[in-house]
Each structure stands twice: as structure tokens, then as C-alpha cells.
């Protein structure tokens, strides 16, 4: 049965009227038009749909929207502050950390949560943190570079 739920997305209160079987991914994309959240596998196998729920990365394709009720949801759309890009976004541009860009929002959100819990990471730790996110274009090297440099920028 449909129910109204209140989500907090990128700091805004958003009310949606949905069936409980809708995934968070689906609701963010279809109901709230936050299409920066991407679906590539639908089964939690690739990380493209990663968003943050209370600061932790989740695969939104295998998370129910109702699970996120009352929690803080962050998507790529909420990462930049107005026109100012987040250091991760800046670094991803600077270091060619994307090619087609389809997996990029998920990887940036994974990296955001990772740097929040580990502000001074090693290269190996970065690789391990993003190893649940599949990128078919870059070969990952530039992604690791981008995250390393963003970490340094954030420290400043």
C-alpha cells in the first residue's frame, strides 16, 4: 500500500507517496528527478548507484526508500555548494578521473564517505575503498590520483 514518507535529501525535506517496494534509487531518480544517481546493474554489484545515508555509502538499487525515512540522504547533486565544486569534484576534473562519466557520481560519493572516515589515506586504502565501484573506462589509475589529490586539498 502506498504511504507518504518524508525524506531528507541533500538537506531538503522531500515528501513522497510511494509503495514500500520502491528502491531508494528509483525514488531519487523517478520521484525527485535526481538523475545523477545512476543504475547500471540493479543488484548491488557495481556501485554506480551509490548515495550516502547518514554519511555511509549504500547501493541505492538494493536499498528501499522507506529504509531511508528519517535519515540524511546525500546525492551527487548535493555535493557542490551552489556553484562551488567539492574538492573531489575539482580533483576528478583536474586528473581526468572519468571518461564516460556514468559511474562517476557513485565513485565520488563513495570517495566522499571514505575521506570523511579516513582523511589521510594511502593509495592502497583508496583502491580498496572504491573497489566495489566498477569503472569500465578509466582503468582506475586516474580515479585513485583524483582521490589522493582531493584528500590533500581537503587537508589544506
Amino acid at each position: 500500500m502506498k504511504r507518504g514518507i518524508l525524506l531528507s535529501v541533500n538537506g531538503e525535506r522531500r515528501e513522497v507517496f510511494i509503495e514500500p517496494n520502491r528502491t531508494l534509487l528509483d525514488v531519487l531518480r523517478e520521484e525527485l528527478s535526481l538523475t545523477g544517481v545512476k543504475e547500471a546493474c540493479g543488484r548491488g554489484e557495481c556501485g554506480a548507484c551509490t548515495v550516502l545515508v547518514d554519511g555511509n555509502p549504500v547501493n541505492s538499487c538494493i536499498t528501499l526508500a522507506v529504509e531511508a525515512e528519517g535519515k540524511e540522504i546525500e546525492t551527487i547533486e548535493g555535493l557542490s555548494n551552489g556553484g562551488d565544486l567539492h574538492p573531489l569534484q575539482e580533483a576528478f576534473i583536474e586528473h581526468h578521473s572519468f571518461q564516460c562519466g556514468f559511474c562517476t557520481p557513485g565513485i565520488i560519493m563513495t570517495a566522499k564517505a571514505f575521506l570523511d572516515r579516513n582523511p589521510e589515506p594511502t593509495e592502497e586504502e583508496i583502491k580498496n575503498a572504491v573497489a566495489g565501484n566498477i569503472c569500465r573506462c578509466t582503468g582506475y589509475d586516474n580515479i585513485v590520483d583524483g582521490i589522493l589529490n582531493a584528500a590533500e586539498e581537503i587537508k589544506k
Binding site: T35, K38, L85, Q99, C100, T138
Partner: protein, 794 residues
């Protein structure tokens, strides 16, 4: 050569902000008012006759707006290749017979995806199962089940529509399931083998791998009341798409508009046209509403073509000095249910490897063979990686037999810059020897080869066209100067991750010497852009980039001429500098680009200043009627292919754990001769991307098909490398300067993968002292080879 200002730099992507903010709209993100959602019902059988389809219950479901079957649409055939010799044979939905598991039999449009999915459950299909054939070599035998009988072509084939009436379309009678043949010969192969001191004959098997573009296959179609069809597709070039949509829906091509979208990766997998694209358009016309069809990952794996599966019989003869005296390849391309690009692939299987080794006596046979499996297509190299694996493996085997140095032997056989290939192509740039030398030096070949147990070293080579001779390999570009002095570039190139928008802006900025942000790139909109090849066969920079450069030159000349009149000085005295036109002798005399735009309109009769440029890949090949038809033959390999070849060599060091067969890549070096790298970072990105894809090809990836069913149709069971699987990789750009390319550039996107595959594969075999003639080299296969006392050599 003068120093470049914008070219040969690692500039940032101009669309970076769009990507990293999530604001870039991909086709999956498209939503239109009143949009319906389509789903396609697939066959559960590999080969069956459709006795009847009952769609009544599905039609009655609330929210269902249309249900169509193959009978409703009829025999409208399409393919990648559609010539009088090889007429198209696939239909948007199967009409009376299904030929692979997953082939569409009915399609639904409904108000939600959920309802569409439920409607599929309500469609009743009665099948009569037919004997099926899965093994291509069994399929070629007398008495094997026939996948096709007689293929009745459309009224005209695509080639006739393109204006090449070599022959009239005619029915194609399939014999022994052979869909297409290629035979390319030169020299005297018997004599060549007589001159050899070592002759090897080996069989190599290369499975399908999947492209795994992260954006799944998706189409949005909006058929307008005016008869116009607007589509948003995830693709790599719109000419094929709009041609086929127009032809299959009987609407003028100019009434089909392929809109620009961001494209989430392609790697060859989104080339030409697909049933879901045609069906979205068909359903949109039927319902008079926009229709979106998004395939699930399972549907992408099970119904969209992966890379070609090949069996390669290689026979090579080499004399004691290490010179290859004869080469005979026989390739069986397991095309699956539809031949798609197999005729091209079977000729590319020869021609992509042709510029590498100078071999006087060659025979190449290629056979496309139908089976009851998912059809196949191009993937990043289209036959190059399959052939490179076979040839480079066998060369290593021969070197081991004759005791030759693997590096020296290859260097001895390489062609040379300036060589004219048997088909007439000239190697105007050729730095393959340099590539190999640099790769082996970086890996420490001389010092380390054969020194440590369980360590192995391998090398591989590859080459690739920079676009091809055949239709539609030409490109046009326009640049319009605006009042603020900035320019809009119109090109038919499609950005799918390669950074084409950025490099095209670099080309324009370089020619016109203006800041990068003076160039706004409008790419990939079929209604706005001039004719363009699309980004495949690595034509993007070499062909379309040259068209853009010429358009910029044209605009530059117009601007300089007006400036000379306006400033009343000689045009020779003028130069462009950072967005200004300045007198060389008196820098107080200058005009801004913005001034030029206004000058053109006010003083020169309203001239808005539009630069125009165009080029063909191979200028002397005409794809036209009668005696002008000089197109190369896919089946005999005669005639010009391309104007420039990209080349690459790779070297790998690996360690194999003898107890488990686990492979650890210690280092991988890929050296790529791509001519001038227009954007150094993008080029490095292309090389790195291919190196990692190659690692997946050798160690992990195979679309496993059992009894016609794709067994691993998801990203858990079809494994692509993760960030934790990446070893130390070095990319080396070897700039050979290609005289025919824009600023000396040529192909870069497809060569390195094959070089990396052969290097890693050879290194593994070197490490274990046994030869594995199939990919992927999974742990179990490696252990099998290690324990196999008889097989292989070391």
C-alpha cells in the same frame, strides 16, 4: 615544427563540470511528458517455430497501451552489413521463428515499467522447439540444423540506398550455415612453407567478451504528429541509427532526429541498430506517445551482441634466421543467429594485422557461421585482439622451438615506415619498432627474461585503422562565429567518454589561436551537424578531427581576409593571437574576433562567417556508381582500406603461483604509436583503459554460453576488473607524426588492448612453461596446463 599552444597538452575535459555534478543527462535520464515504458518478451528457446501468440490478456491489463508481435511489424530486415551479397536478415521481433534465447517475440508499451513487465507475463506464446546447433564447427557440417534457409532481402539493400548499385539485391541461400566468406591471398604460400625451417599449426579459441558499457542499452523515441521522429539513444554515431530507423519505419531520413545525449560508454557494443531502438520508435508511432525502453543488465548480456567468438587455425612458417616465410590463417567466426558485422570482421582479421609483419606469402580464410546463439558484434579492435592473441602466441611458440630471441625476431619481421602494403595502403607513419623497444626496455626484458622461476615475460603487438574507406567514412564540420567572438563548432562526432568535445575544441583553438572557452562544441545532433562517420573504427580524430581542422582553417582565412580589408594592411602581415587578429609589424593594428563577426555582417554584405571543412578517410576511394566504385572488397581484401594505421606494442611481467594458478601481473607496459597526442591526458586515458580491459580479457572475462543460454548475465558472474585488480601500468606515447592526420594525429582508442592481451597471455605461458591456446586464462585452466604433462612447450 612550431610549438603548439593547445594541442599536445593534457587539458581538462570541457564537459567535466557536467559529469562530476551529476548534471550530465544520459539517455537513461531522459523523461518526457506522457512517456510510456516498453518491455520486450524474449524467447526461452534457442531455436523454435512460433505457432501462435495470444496477447489478449496483456492488452486488457490496465495501463497497457500497445502490444505488438513480429506479425504486426512483419519482415523489415536490418543488419550492420546489408549488401546485395550479404542481405540483412534480422527483424525487430521474430516473425515465425526464433533463433536464439532472448530473441524478442512481442513488445509492450505501458504507463509504467512495472505494468509493462506484468503484461509480458500475460502473453502466451506457443512454440514448437526445433533442433538447435551451438558449435560452429558442427554447424558447418552436412546435416546440421539450418539456422537460416533462404534470406529474402528487403526491396533494396542499404548499399543500393547508399548509391552503389553493383548488383541488385537477391535472396541469399544459406548452405551449411555459412553466413559469409573471406579469402585474401598474395604471394605463394606453398613456396613460403617450403622455405620454412619451422612450421607450426595451432588452434586458438577466443570466447565472447562483453563490452560492459556502464550505461545499459536504452532508447527513448518520440514520434511527433508532424511525422517527425525524435530519438535519444546511447550510441557511437548517428548515421547508422537514423538510416535504419528511417528505412524500417518508412519515414524520410531527414525526419529522424538523433538528439545529443551523454553516452555511458560503448566500446563498440552500441554500434549500428538494435531491436529495442526500432521497437521504441515503432511503439511511439503506434501510441502517439513517447516510449522509453531501458534494458536490464540481464537483458543487455542476454540480448545485445557481445564481442565475436572465434576459432583461429594458425599456420606459420619461419626460417632459421627468424623470417616469417608463410602465413595461413583460417578463422571461424561463430556469428550466432545473425551475421551482423561478420563480413567486415573477417576482412579486418587480416587487415588489422597486415601492417605489423612483412610477410610475402599469405592466405587468410574467414568464415562466418550461424549458430543458435546470441549474435555478436565489434568490440574495441573488432577481430584485432582475437587475431593478435593467436598470431603473437604462435610467434612465441616458434621462437621457443627455433631458439630465437622473441624481441629480435619481431623486430626483424616488422614492416618499415614508407612501406606500401599489398592492398595499396602506405605506412606514412610507423613507429612500431620504437614502441616495442621502449616497452621491453621499460619492463627490463634483457636483464630479467628467463632469470626467475614462476616469473614470466611476454610481448605483443597490434595495429588498427584510423577510419576506413567505406561508407559513411567521411565527415563534415561547420564553425559559426558569434557576435561575442566565440564560436560554435558543429560536428557529428559523438561524445561517449573519449573526450572528443575537448579535443575538437583544442583543434579549433589551435588553428584560430584563441582561448579554449571561445569554442563551444555542439556535437552529435543529427539535425544540426553535417554528415559524420561516427566514432567507430577509430575514425574520430583522424577523419572528423581533420574535417574540424579544415573548417577552422576556412574560417581563419575568411577572418584574415576581412581583417586585411578592415585594417587596410596586407593579409600576409596578419596573424591570430589569443583571440585577436594582429598586425605582425604594428601590434597597435588589431581586431578582436568579436569585431570580426560584426564586420562580416555590417561591412561584407551580411556574411555571418561560417567555416566549413570536410574530408574522407581515403580520398581516392569513391563509393559511388559504376566505374567510380573503388571500394575495397571485404571478401577478397583488394583495394585501399585506410589512410593511417595506429600501432602498439606491450610488454608484461607476471608471476604465477604454481599451486593455485593465480596470476599476479607485476608490471604492464603499453607503448602506443598514435601520432601526435592531441590531448595527452585523454590519450593516456585511452591506453590505460585498454590495458585494464586487456587484463580482464586474459584473466577474467568470458560470456559463458551453454546450450544457447548466457550463463553469467550480470556483473557478479561476468567479472570486469576492480580497482584492486590493477597492477603497475605504464603507458608510453610514441609520437610518429602522421602526415595525413590533423596536427599529425591518428588512431588511439583500439590498438593497445590487443597488444596488452597478447603480452599478458605470452607472459603467463612463459611463466608456467606451457602454452594455453584459449582465453581467458582462468586459474583452473592454468592449473590444467601446468598439470598436463604432454601438452605445450616451453
Amino acid at each position: 615544427m612550431k610549438d603548439f599552444k593547445y594541442v599536445k597538452k593534457g587539458l581538462k575535459r570541457t564537459d567535466g563540470e557536467m559529469i562530476v555534478t551529476g548534471r550530465a543527462k544520459f539517455t537513461v535520464d531522459m523523461a518526457l511528458p506522457e512517456m510510456l515504458f516498453g518491455k520486450i518478451l524474449g524467447s526461452p528457446y534457442p531455436h523454435a517455430r512460433i505457432i501462435g501468440i495470444n496477447v489478449d490478456k496483456a492488452k486488457e491489463l490496465e495501463g497497457v497501451k500497445a502490444v505488438v508481435t513480429g506479425k504486426d511489424i512483419g519482415y523489415r530486415r536490418f543488419s550492420f552489413i546489408d549488401t546485395p551479397a550479404y542481405p540483412a536478415e534480422q527483424t525487430p521481433l521474430a516473425v515465425d521463428r526464433v533463433r536464439f534465447v532472448g530473441e524478442g517475440v512481442a513488445a509492450v508499451a505501458a504507463v509504467t515499467e512495472d505494468i509493462a513487465a506484468k503484461a509480458l507475463d500475460l502473453i502466451e506464446v506457443e512454440y514448437e522447439e526445433l533442433p538447435a546447433v551451438f558449435d560452429p564447427e558442427e554447424s558447418m557440417k552436412d546435416g546440421a540444423p539450418a539456422v537460416h534457409d533462404i534470406i529474402e532481402p528487403n526491396t533494396t539493400t542499404a548499399w543500393e540506398d547508399f548509391g552503389i548499385p553493383k548488383a541488385k539485391s537477391r535472396p541469399f541461400k544459406v548452405v551449411n550455415n555459412i553466413s559469409n566468406r573471406t579469402l585474401i591471398e598474395y604471394g605463394d604460400i606453398e613456396k613460403g612453407f617450403e622455405e620454412a625451417d619451422c612450421i607450426r599449426e595451432d588452434r586458438f579459441e577466443i570466447p565472447s567478451t562483453s563490452h560492459v558499457a556502464m550505461e545499459p542499452h536504452v532508447a527513448v523515441a518520440n514520434y511527433q504528429p508532424t511525422g517527425k521522429l525524435d530519438v535519444w539513444l546511447t550510441h557511437m554515431g548517428y548515421e547508422h541509427k537514423r538510416f535504419w530507423l528511417a528505412k524500417l519505419l518508412d519515414i524520410p531520413m531527414s525526419m529522424v532526429r538523433v538528439h545529443k545525449t551523454y553516452v555511458g560508454g560503448t566500446f563498440g557494443g552500441k554500434i549500428s541498430i538494435f531491436p529495442y531502438e526500432i521497437l521504441s520508435a515503432y511503439l511511439s508511432r503506434l501510441t502517439a506517445r513517447p516510449v522509453k525502453i531501458t534494458l536490464t543488465r540481464q537483458e543487455v548480456f542476454s540480448t545485445c551482441p557481445p564481442a565475436r567468438r572465434m576459432i583461429v587455425y594458425m599456420k606459420m612458417g619461419v626460417n632459421k634466421e627468424g623470417k616469417i616465410t608463410a602465413y595461413h590463417s583460417k578463422v571461424i567466426d561463430d556469428v550466432g543467429a545473425y551475421r551482423r558485422s561478420s563480413p567486415t570482421a573477417m576482412y579486418l582479421a587480416h587487415s588489422f594485422r597486415n601492417p605489423i609483419y612483412d610477410i610475402a606469402n599469405v592466405r587468410h580464410e574467414g568464415y562466418g557461421v550461424y549458430t543458435n546463439k546470441l549474435y555478436a558484434t565489434a568490440k574495441r579492435g573488432h577481430s584485432l585482439q582475437q587475431m593478435s592473441f593467436a598470431v603473437e602466441s604462435q610467434i612465441d611458440m616458434i621462437c621457443e622451438e627455433l631458439g630465437l630471441d622473441k624481441v629480435d625476431m619481431r623486430l626483424k619481421n616488422f614492416r618499415k615506415k614508407g612501406d606500401v602494403l599489398p592492398n595499396g595502403d602506405t605506412l606514412n607513419s610507423y613507429a612500431l619498432p620504437e614502441c616495442l623497444k621502449q616497452a621491453v626496455e621499460k619492463i627490463g626484458w634483457k636483464e630479467k627474461y628467463g632469470k626467475e622461476k614462476s616469473r614470466g615475460f611476454g610481448i605483443g603487438t597490434a595495429s588498427m585503422f584510423s577510419g576506413a574507406h567505406n561508407y559513411p567514412f567521411a565527415s563534415g564540420a561547420m564553425i559559426r562565429l558569434n557576435h561575442d567572438g566565440r564560436m560554435i563548432l558543429y560536428t557529428g562526432q559523438t561524445e561517449f567518454g573519449i573526450g572528443i568535445d575537448t579535443v575538437m575544441a583544442q583543434v579549433v583553438a589551435e588553428v584560430l589561436d584563441c582561448p579554449m572557452d571561445y569554442v563551444i562544441v555542439n556535437c552529435g545532433d543529427s539535425e544540426v551537424s553535417p554528415h559524420d562517420v561516427g566514432n567507430w573504427l577509430s575514425a574520430g580524430m583522424f577523419v572528423s578531427g581533420e574535417a574540424v581542422r579544415r573548417a577552422a582553417l576556412d574560417l581563419r582565412e575568411q577572418m584574415l581576409n576581412y581583417a586585411a580589408t578592415g585594417l587596410e594592411i596586407d593579409v600576409e602581415d596578419l596573424e591570430m593571437n589569443d583571440g585577436w587578429i594582429v598586425s605582425r609589424s604594428d601590434d597597435s593594428k588589431k581586431l578582436s574576433f568579436s569585431d570580426m563577426s560584426r564586420y562580416g555582417i555590417q561591412m561584407a554584405g551580411g556574411d555571418p562567417l561560417i567555416g566549413k571543412g570536410y574530408t574522407k578517410c581515403v580520398p581516392e576511394v569513391y563509393f559511388w556508381k559504376g566505374k567510380y566504385n573503388k571500394t575495397a572488397s571485404l571478401s577478397s581484401g583488394k583495394g585501399r582500406f585506410t589512410q593511417a594505421y595506429g600501432l602498439a606494442a606491450a610488454a608484461a611481467e607476471v608471476e604465477v603461483t604454481p599451486e593455485t594458478g593465480e596470476v599476479k601481473i607485476i608490471e604492464l607496459v603499453v607503448a602506443d604509436d598514435c601520432g601526435t597526442p592531441i590531448n595527452v591526458k585523454s590519450v593516456e586515458g585511452q591506453i590505460m583503459s585498454q590495458a585494464v580491459m586487456g587484463i580482464g580479457d586474459v584473466l577474467l572475462e568470458e560470456v559463458e554460453i551453454k546450450d544457447g543460454i548466457v550463463m553469467n548475465p550480470n556483473l557478479l558472474e561476468y567479472r570486469v576488473p576492480t580497482a584492486n585488480d590493477i597492477p603497475k601500468i605504464t603507458s608510453i606515447i610514441v609520437d610518429s607524426y602522421e602526415p595525413n592526420g590533423p596536427f599529425g594525429a591518428k588512431e588511439v582508442g583500439e590498438t593497445s588492448r590487443a597488444a596488452a592481451i597478447s603480452a599478458i597471455a605470452n607472459a603467463i605461458c612463459n611463466a608456467i612453461g606451457k602454452r594455453i591456446c584459449a582465453l581467458p586464462m582462468t586459474n583452473d585452466r592454468i592449473m590444467q596446463a601446468i598439470s598436463d604433462k604432454k601438452g605445450g612447450n616451453s
